[in-house]
Amino acid sequence: MSRSPDFDELVGPEVGGEARERLRRTHELLVAAGPPPELSPELAAGPTLAMTLGRRPGRARRRLYLLAAAAIAVAAVFLGGYVAGNRGGSGVAAVRTLELRGTAAAPGALASLRILPGSGGNWPMRLTVTGLPKLPRRAYYEVFLVRGGKEWAPCGTFLAPGGDRAVTVTLNAPYRLRPGDRWLVTRRGPGATAPGVPVLEPAA
């Protein structure tokens, strides 16, 4: 813990009167406020796509997708390098955010999947999605872990409000994750038993 600096040493004798008192009050505010927090690399890197997946005007939609696609392309380059650099390691990083984009079955959809640190073999995940249509009764969306190019294991189900409205759900992947694991979202109809049609797939 560092000591508070001495005001007289900081300002010196040159400043006096009202101006000195004004500086002293600022000094006291600085001492009371304490240091600004150190940002994690994740926060310092800038706003995430997930922050802006809320409702927005329709005319901005196309522009958003172009921007998002550009961001996804940049991220994919980094992510590819990261995954490649970690092949043979112990698994995925503690916190990762992946972008998913709509397939031909849901071309306007976008999603951000954040994998959080878990315990006891669990990997909680926060999925924020927008642009998925509202489904008929008893139909739902399902998130799958994809391994070896196949839908390997389910990670949870959710419903979408439809339109541009975003929804955020917390899911879980209670599996031993490996580098190269991916996720996709399928649409499962009422009463269907097989995995449904993919509606969101990894951006890269």
């Binding site: 508070s4 650099g85 503690a94 916190v95």
Partner: protein
Amino acid sequence: MRRDRKDMELALATPRLRPSPADETAPEPDPSDGELLARVAERDRAAFEVLYRRYVRSVFGLALRRLRDRSRAEDAVQDAFAAIWRSAGSYRPERGAAGAWLYAVARNAIVDRFRSAGGEAAGEMPELVSGEPGPAERAEAAYAAWRVHRALEELPPREREVVELAYWSGMSQSEIASYLGIPLGTVKTRTRSALGRLSDLLEGELR
């Protein structure tokens, strides 16, 4: 500033709206917070990024004060900026300063996060004991810290550097001069200039 290799890798693995600027010395953007909010209301992502960089430390500091847990505070920052993005259109300049509006939106998002995590046990001060600040005083202190941290972002980098070294690294003015390799007189001039600039920025807090 210590970052380990893993942290850097994690940062690279997180998709962003656009690549973050590598040049920290780029000049401060000119638009006011209110102008940026108006642009964010029109879904201008560049404006949102400028606003984010101006306020992320203040929001994170506020979240840490309330939640007392870095991981949950980081989640609260996500919530807060998502709320700012969603609600920017509701900001009315005639009703008050943009900074105060941003504070209110961020605080509400942080409180929601706090409540969703179990409320009292998660970080709220348990019982008030004699001599400890009450809710109103804590709220006032939180807002003052918010404004101070925001004002620090406005300082030129060279002035901010000497303030941070003087206040939070425990260095004397002579030690700062030696550390930075500049004359002692320059350190004193920059410090006085920074305090004067902060006084202007924090005018409302000084009354």
